[in-house]
C-alpha cells in the first residue's frame, strides 16, 4: 500500500536535525522564558477546565473510538462526504499531495479573476505552503488570524499549532507591523490593545474588499457534508461568510462520521486547546445556501502522505490528532526548544510522530528522538494518542548511526551472556580512565559529560556483594 501512497511534500522537513536546530532557542534565554510562561499559563488554564468535567476520561475514550472508527472506514466515509457536499452545491477536488492541492487552489482563484484571498488560520495550508504558491502565481494571500498575520508579515514560520507567533514578543510585533502593515499608524506603541486595534483596522478593510477566502477545516461530517471551523477571533466567521467564493483545504483525516459526533469533539477541543469551556466562534456550513454566504464552495481533500500513515498499524493513530496543541503545552522538550526546532509546521510531540510518517522516516530521522519519553503528551491528548509508543515504534524504523549500531549490538550480545556481562561490569570500573567524572568521554558521549558528572564506579557490583554474603 505504502509504495502507491504519495509522500508528503511542503513544509514538513527541517534544514537541520533536531538537536542542531534546537540550539537556537536553547541559546535564547528571553525566548525560553516567554515559552515557559506561555505554556505554563495555557497548561494551568486547560487543567482547571478539564478538572471540571467528571467524564473527561470517558470523553477522551469516545473521541479516540470515533477517530479509530473513522480511520477504519475512511474510503467509504470520504465518498459519502463527497456525495453530500456535491448534493449541497459544493465542488469536491482530490489532491494527492501538496503540489496538486496548490495547483487546484491557484487555478480556482484564477478562475474568479481575483488577485487577493483572505485566509482563515489553517494547518493544512501551512503544511502545503499555499501562501508561497499563491504568491508565485500573482495572488496575494492575507492571513486574518492575528498571530498568523504576525507570522506572515514577519516573513516567518509558525512555531506552535494554536499560537503560531508564540516565539514573538510585543516589541517585535510592533516592529513587524510598522514595517509591513499597509496603512499602519507610525505612532503605534507596543501596547497589546493598540497592536490588536491596528490589526483590526487593516483586516476590516481587507474582509470587506476581498471576494475569495481560503480556509482549513477542523471537522467534516460525512453524514451531512457539513464543514466546521472553530476559532476565537471572529476572523474565521468573516472569511467564511463575506466572500463570494470559499475554498476549503482539508486533510482527509479530519472527517467524523455523524453530526452527533461533534458533541464529543466540541467538548474535547476547547478545553484541551485554549482552556475554554466552549469555543467562541464555531462556524458550520453545508455546501451553498442561495442568497446567504459564499455562492461558490470548493472542498480540496488533501492526502499528502496521510494514506501512507494509515497503512501503519501502530503509527496511524497520529491521524486522530485534532490539532489542539495540548501535547506541545505539556512537553518539557517543546517548552525549551520552541517549535522551529522541529522543522515541520507540526511541532512538539505530535509533530515528532506525524511529520516523519507523512514524509517517510528517512526525511525526518531525528524527530522521533526529540523526546525523553516522559509521557506527559499521552496524558494530555484529548483523543488519547499514545505518542510515546509511536515514537518508540518510529525509532525502530529510523536509520541508525553506524557506531551506535555496533555499540547496541555489542551491548545486547554481552547482556545475553551473564558471565561476559559480569566481566564487562568489572571493566566499567575502568571508566575512571576516561578522565575525571567522564570529562574525557569521546563523542557522542561527551555531550552528557558537558553538564553532568559520571557517577564514581562502586567498589563492588551488587552481584559481587550477593555472592559474598
Amino acid at each position: 500500500m505504502s509504495t502507491h501512497s504519495p509522500r508528503g511534500v511542503g513544509h514538513l522537513r527541517g534544514d537541520q536535525p533536531f538537536p542542531e536546530a534546537a540550539k537556537v532557542a536553547l541559546a535564547n534565554p528571553q525566548l525560553r522564558r516567554n515559552l515557559q510562561h506561555a505554556t505554563t499559563t495555557i497548561r494551568g488554564k486547560s487543567g482547571r477546565v478539564i478538572a471540571e468535567l467528571p467524564d473527561w476520561q470517558e470523553l477522551r475514550a469516545a473521541g479516540s473510538a470515533l477517530k479509530a472508527y473513522t480511520m477504519g472506514n475512511l474510503p467509504r466515509l470520504l465518498e459519502q462526504l463527497e456525495e453530500k457536499v456535491t448534493a449541497a452545491g459544493g465542488v469536491v477536488h482530490w489532491a494527492a499531495d501538496a503540489n496538486e492541492a496548490n495547483r487546484i487552489v491557484t487555478d480556482l482563484v484564477h478562475q474568479t479573476g481575483e488577485t487577493r484571498v483572505i485566509k482563515v488560520k489553517s494547518m493544512a495550508t501551512q503544511e502545503i505552503g499555499l501562501n508561497e504558491a499563491l504568491e508565485a502565481a500573482g495572488i496575494t494571500p492575507v492571513e486574518t488570524d492575528l498571530a498568523e498575520l504576525i507570522v506572515q508579515l514577519g516573513k516567518d514560520k509558525p512555531s506552535h499549532i494554536l499560537v503560531p507567533a508564540i516565539h514573538r514578543n510585543r516589541s517585535e510585533i510592533r516592529e513587524i507591523f510598522l514595517r509591513e502593515m499597509p496603512g499602519v499608524d507610525p505612532e503605534l506603541t507596543d501596547e497589546p490593545t493598540e497592536l490588536a486595534a491596528a490589526a483590526r483596522r487593516y483586516l476590516r478593510e481587507t474582509f470587506l474588499s476581498t471576494k475569495v477566502a481560503v480556509s482549513g477545516a477542523n471537522f467534516a461530517i460525512a453524514e451531512t457534508g457539513t464543514l466546521a471551523v472553530v476559532e476565537s477571533e471572529g476572523n474565521g466567521r468573516m472569511c467564511l461568510t463575506l466572500p463570494d467564493t470559499l475554498i476549503t483545504v482539508m486533510g482527509i483525516e479530519k472527517l467524523v462520521p455523524a453530526w452527533t459526533d461533534l458533541e464529543v469533539f466540541l467538548q474535547l477541543l476547547p478545553r484541551a486547546s485554549t482552556g475554554e469551556r466552549m469555543n467562541p466562534y464555531t462556524s458550520m456550513w453545508t455546501g451553498v445556501t442561495p442568497g446567504d454566504g459564499p455562492q461558490n464552495f470548493h472542498l480540496v481533500l488533501l492526502d499528502n502522505g496521510r494514506t501512507a500513515v494509515l497503512a501503519d498499524e501502530v503509527g496511524r493513530s497520529a491521524l486522530h490528532c485534532i490539532r489542539c496543541s495540548a501535547c506541545l503545552n505539556v512537553c518539557p522538550v517543546y517548552e525549551r526548544t520552541g517549535g522551529h526546532a522541529y522543522g515541520s509546521v507540526y511541532p512538539g510531540p505530535i509533530g515528532a510522530v506525524l511529520s516523519p510518517q507523512l514524509t517517510g522516516i528517512k526525511d525526518n530521522p531525528s524527530l522521533p528522538y526529540a523526546s525523553s519519553l516522559c509521557g506527559a503528551c499521552f496524558d494530555a491528548c484529548p483523543v488519547m494518542i499514545d505518542i510515546p509508543s509511536i515514537l518508540v515504534h518510529l525509532r525502530n524504523q529510523a536509520p541508525h548511526p553506524r557506531t551506535e549500531k555496533a555499540v547496541m549490538a555489542a551491548a545486547a550480545y554481552t547482556m545475553d551472556r551473564p558471565r561476559l556481562y559480569a566481566r564487562a561490569q568489572k571493566a566499567a570500573r575502568l571508566s575512571k580512565l576516561l578522565g575525571k567524572r567522564g570529562r574525557g568521554l569521546p563523542p557522542p558521549l561527551h555531550g552528557w559529560a558537558a553538564s553532568r558528572d559520571l557517577p564514581e564506579p562502586p567498589p563492588e557490583t551488587f552481584r559481587d556483594w550477593w555472592r559474598g554474603r
Partner: protein
C-alpha cells in the same frame, strides 16, 4: 507470613548503584521476607527498545522471561524498568507464545513501592532517616506504572524524615536514556530547571525510585558542587535508627 521474592536488580543498579539493590534486599529481609537473586538476569532491554533496536532487545526479553518465569513475585527498584517490562515486553516479543509468557511474568513484576503497598500491604516499614528529603516522582513511575503517591506514603512514615514538596515535581528531569546523549543540550536545559527546583526546596537529599533519573540529577548536582545528595527510595526505607547511630 514470609513471602519469597525474586529480585530483579536492573543492570544499572547492579553495575553502578548497587546500594539501591542491596537496600531492597535488606529492607525486604528486615520485613521478614525471603529474597532470591536469579543470577541469569541482566537487563530488561529498555535501552534497546527506546533507542530503536527491538530486534536486539528481543533476546533480553526472552532472557528476562526465562529467568523470572519460575518465580511468583518479582521486585525491581526501578519504575522505568518495570514500566518497560509491563508495557513493552509483550509488545516487542514478536511471537505470540513469548508475548503471552512475557505478559504473565510482567503481571507478577512490581516496582518497590507497589510491592510494599499493594502486595505486602505495608506503609510503615520502620525506617529512620534524619534528613530533609525532596522526592522526584520519575516519569515512568508516574505515567507508565501510575504508582501515584505510594512512594510518598512510604516516606511519610519514615522517622526523622522531613519531607519537602518538590515544585513542578512531575516534569521530566531530562534523562530519557539515550535522549540525554542524542539531545544533550535540551536534556541539560531540562536538568537545570529540575536542579533549580531541588535547590529551592532546601533539601539535603533528593530521592527517587529510579537509579537512572538519580544518576542524571546527581550528575548535575555533583558538577555544581552544591552538596545535595541523591539517594534511592530503597536506601531510605532500608535505613534504621541503629544504622544511623553507627
Amino acid at each position: 507470613m514470609t513471602v519469597r521474592i525474586a529480585l530483579f536488580a536492573t543492570c544499572l543498579a547492579d553495575t553502578m548503584f548497587p546500594a539501591a539493590a542491596r537496600s531492597t534486599v535488606q529492607l525486604l529481609e528486615r520485613l521478614g521476607h525471603e529474597v532470591v537473586f536469579p543470577e541469569a538476569q541482566t537487563c530488561c532491554g529498555q535501552m534497546h527498545v527506546n533507542t530503536g533496536y527491538q530486534d536486539q532487545a528481543r533476546s533480553l526479553v526472552r532472557r528476562y522471561v526465562r529467568t523470572f518465569e519460575p518465580h511468583d513475585l518479582v521486585v525491581a527498584p526501578s519504575g522505568s524498568c518495570v514500566g518497560s517490562i509491563r508495557h513493552q515486553h509483550a509488545m516487542i516479543a514478536g511471537d505470540p507464545t513469548l508475548a503471552a509468557r512475557a505478559e504473565a511474568v510482567a503481571s507478577r513484576t512490581y516496582e518497590l513501592s507497589e510491592l510494599l503497598i499493594d502486595v505486602l500491604k505495608i506503609e510503615d516499614v520502620g525506617a529512620y532517616y534524619p534528613h530533609r528529603v525532596t522526592y522526584h516522582p520519575t516519569c515512568h513511575s508516574l505515567r507508565v506504572l501510575r504508582v501515584g503517591d505510594r512512594p510518598l506514603r512510604l516516606l511519610r512514615q519514615v522517622r526523622g524524615l522531613d519531607l519537602v514538596e518538590l515544585p513542578a515535581a512531575e516534569q521530566c528531569c531530562g534523562f530519557g536514556g539515550t535522549f540525554s546523549v542524542k539531545n544533550a543540550d535540551t536534556s541539560t536545559a531540562m536538568l537545570a530547571d529540575k536542579i533549580q527546583h531541588v535547590l529551592d526546596t532546601g533539601a539535603d537529599v533528593c530521592a527517587a525510585g529510579d537509579a537512572s533519573c538519580l544518576m542524571h540529577i546527581g550528575g548535575g548536582l555533583s558538577r555544581l558542587r552544591v552538596g545535595v545528595k541523591t539517594v534511592h527510595l530503597a536506601e531510605i526505607l532500608a535505613s534504621t535508627e541503629l544504622e544511623a547511630r553507627l
